[in-house]
């Protein structure tokens, strides 16, 4: 082949190249189609079970909709929200939510962290703690609530009552007194979920390299100093993550409170989540219940926004 012929072939090739889509596109397109085929079913299901109901929920929150009085149904505009802002029970449930969430999360993290540090330092018996810690976490909150309500907190024969009497504190109506009932549901939630914080933090502690502690010892840091200056900062991401995860769960806690107090006595343990449920499915006021659920969503978003901002802060 002479030179000009070669040049001709090359030029032809170049032209062919220009006519065709660029190869990177072709390859990406193939990958995209494959990805789409894999993603589509799951994302359709996700949209159908989360995004669509969310939109529907917002829509119903603008309606008067009561299943016991369907003849009254109709568009209500912002009425539900206006009612909500003037509803003392809403504000109270918001307050209960705040108290419940803040106290359970703080207790879980503080106790969980303390125990994690304690157990991490143990040379033997860690396995026992891990094993026991699994138990509450895997249980149904409804069953946990039932167990506590029936066998721990029952006034006449419950173990807690017995211990209180033995300790000289006297018998109490643990679930009948508004303050004690709130304390009880907080204790139950803390009991069930502290092991979660404990396990996560213990695993994070175990993942920290040993040599930094050795270095700290050589730098003559005391145990407390190395906890404050080394352990805490290194665990911070895990701690913050635990706080965020536990906060989301506490805000939407339902089963344990439902089985233990049902929100009572009165509305003493009625967190916003439970109020939305009761309004919708006990009082059948779906429209107003939807507005309450939207309020809960907004509250959740605000709280998580604050938490995520805090995470980024330092």
């Amino acid at each position: 082949m002479n030179k000009s012929a070669v040049a001709g072939v090359v030029a032809q090739g170049r032209r062919a190249l220009h006519r065709r889509a660029d190869p990177a596109r072709i390859m990406e397109g193939r990958e995209r189609r494959f990805a789409a085929a894999l993603l589509a079913p799951a994302f359709l299901a996700l949209m159908a079970t989360t995004t669509f109901p969310l939109l529907f929920l917002i829509w119903t929150s603008f309606y008067r909709m009561n299943l016991s009085m369907p003849f009254m149904d109709g568009f209500a505009g912002l009425d539900n929200y206006r009612e909500l802002l003037a509803d003392p029970r809403f504000w109270q449930s918001l307050g209960v939510s705040l108290v419940y969430t803040a106290s359970t999360v703080v207790l879980q993290v503080v106790i969980g962290l303390a125990l994690a540090v304690l157990v991490h330092g143990m040379r033997r018996g860690q396995g026992l703690f891990r094993m026991v810690a699994i138990l509450p976490v895997v249980l149904s909150p409804a069953v946990v609530g039932m167990v506590w309500r029936s066998f721990m907190l029952a006034p006449d024969f419950g173990v807690v009552d017995y211990l209180a009497v033995t300790a000289g504190l006297g018998s109490h109506n643990w679930l009948g007194d508004p303050t004690l009932a709130l304390v009880s549901v907080i204790v139950i939630h803390t009991w069930q979920w502290t092991p979660f914080a404990f396990m996560v933090l213990l695993a994070s502690l175990a993942a920290l390299p040993d040599d930094i502690y050795e270095a700290a010892r050589i730098d003559r840091a005391s145990a407390w100093q190395s906890f404050r200056r080394i352990t805490l900062p290194l665990l911070r991401p895990a701690i913050v993550m635990v706080i965020i995860m536990r906060t989301m769960v506490a805000l939407t806690a339902f089963a344990a409170i439902f089985t233990v107090t049902g929100g009572g006595p009165g509305t003493a343990t009625e967190i916003l989540n439970l109020y939305a449920y009761r309004k919708s499915f006990t009082e059948l006021s779906i429209g107003y219940g939807s507005a309450l659920a939207v309020a809960l969503l907004v509250f959740t978003l605000v709280v998580s926004g604050v938490l995520f901002a805090l995470r980024r802060a330092k």
């Binding site: 994302f43 996700l46 669509f52 409804a142 419950g158 989540n273 919708s280 939807s290 959740t300």
Partner: protein, 279 residues
């Protein structure tokens, strides 16, 4: 030396106390399941008693047997697990592995769906399922269980898929395997552990779910967690039977928890530790 000993003693005492606090309520309710009604109600609480299987016999084979409810719980949990995994595995693989535009947004979307309070999902879905007659049906409850199991499963699986080196897949392509074959022959066998962990979690979450079950259950779909209320009423609570039902409801998840203990800790921490490190 003595001060050190003392401190050690206190530490062991404190940690032992917490150990007891966690295990006692569970053990106590299990114990009560082996008591007679009188023994349950005894004051002070009885630690020593003559055990009986009466309560178990009654709740399993008596007039109000909870066997159908256990079956119902299993159908819901297994059904949810199968559907969830079938949808989540391909999606997680694509999110973890493929170069696609908007991947970050897709991941964020999966995460964001978990922010939605369940009560906000069940209100509209109650209306929808009522309209299409799916209240008290398995398809209805499994469908809505996807709202929490699917994002969780995708998220957990992605972290396992991400652990497999890219080169493994590329080697398979060069060996002539198609994408689907690579996924089946090379990738999936390597994430078996992750799939197992995810299955355990999805099963547990479905077994333990309560809010959706309360709203959607009826005579057909009636899991144990709902059925245990049969033994509690204003007039009379059947304590020993309630304890037996609780024990039966706890049994599968405790067995699962103990068997899959290591995996569960990993599953719990994947989100927290990894997520904390990277995102």
């Amino acid at each position: 030396m003595t001060a050190k000993r003392l401190r050690l003693g206190i530490l062991i005492g404190v940690s032992g106390l917490f150990l007891l606090a966690w295990i006692f309520p569970i053990l106590w309710s299990l114990l009560n399941a082996f008591k007679t009604e009188q023994d349950v109600l005894a004051y002070p609480p009885k630690l020593v008693f003559s055990p009986t299987l009466d309560a178990f016999r009654d709740v399993l084979f008596g007039a109000t047997s909870i066997l159908p409810n256990l079956a119902s719980s299993f159908i819901i949990s297994i059904g949810t697990t199968i559907v969830t995994m079938a949808l989540a595995i391909p999606a997680a693989y694509a999110l973890a592995r493929l170069r696609i535009p908007g991947k970050r947004w897709a991941g964020f979307y999966v995460l964001a769906t978990q922010m939605l309070p369940p009560v906000g999902i069940i209100i509209p879905y109650f209306l929808i399922l009522r309209n299409i007659g799916w209240i008290d049906t398995y398809q209805g409850i499994i469908l809505i269980y996807l709202s929490f199991s699917l994002p969780f499963a995708i998220w957990l699986l992605v972290s396992y898929f991400e652990d497999i080196p890219f080169e493994m897949e590329e080697a398979a392509f060069l060996d002539g395997a198609s994408r689907l074959k690579t996924l089946r022959r090379i990738i999936l066998p390597q994430v078996q552990g992750g799939v197992a962990v995810t299955v355990v979690f999805v099963f547990l979450n479905a077994w333990n779910e309560f809010l959706f079950a309360v709203v959607l259950s009826g005579n057909t779909v009636r899991p144990v967690t709902i059925a245990m209320f049969n033994f509690v009423s204003v007039e009379q609570t059947l304590w020993a039977k309630l304890a037996a039902v609780s024990a039966l409801a706890m049994l599968p998840v405790i067995v699962l928890g103990v068997v899959a203990q290591k995996h569960i800790v990993k599953g719990l921490t994947v989100g927290a530790v990894k997520g904390g490190g990277r995102r």
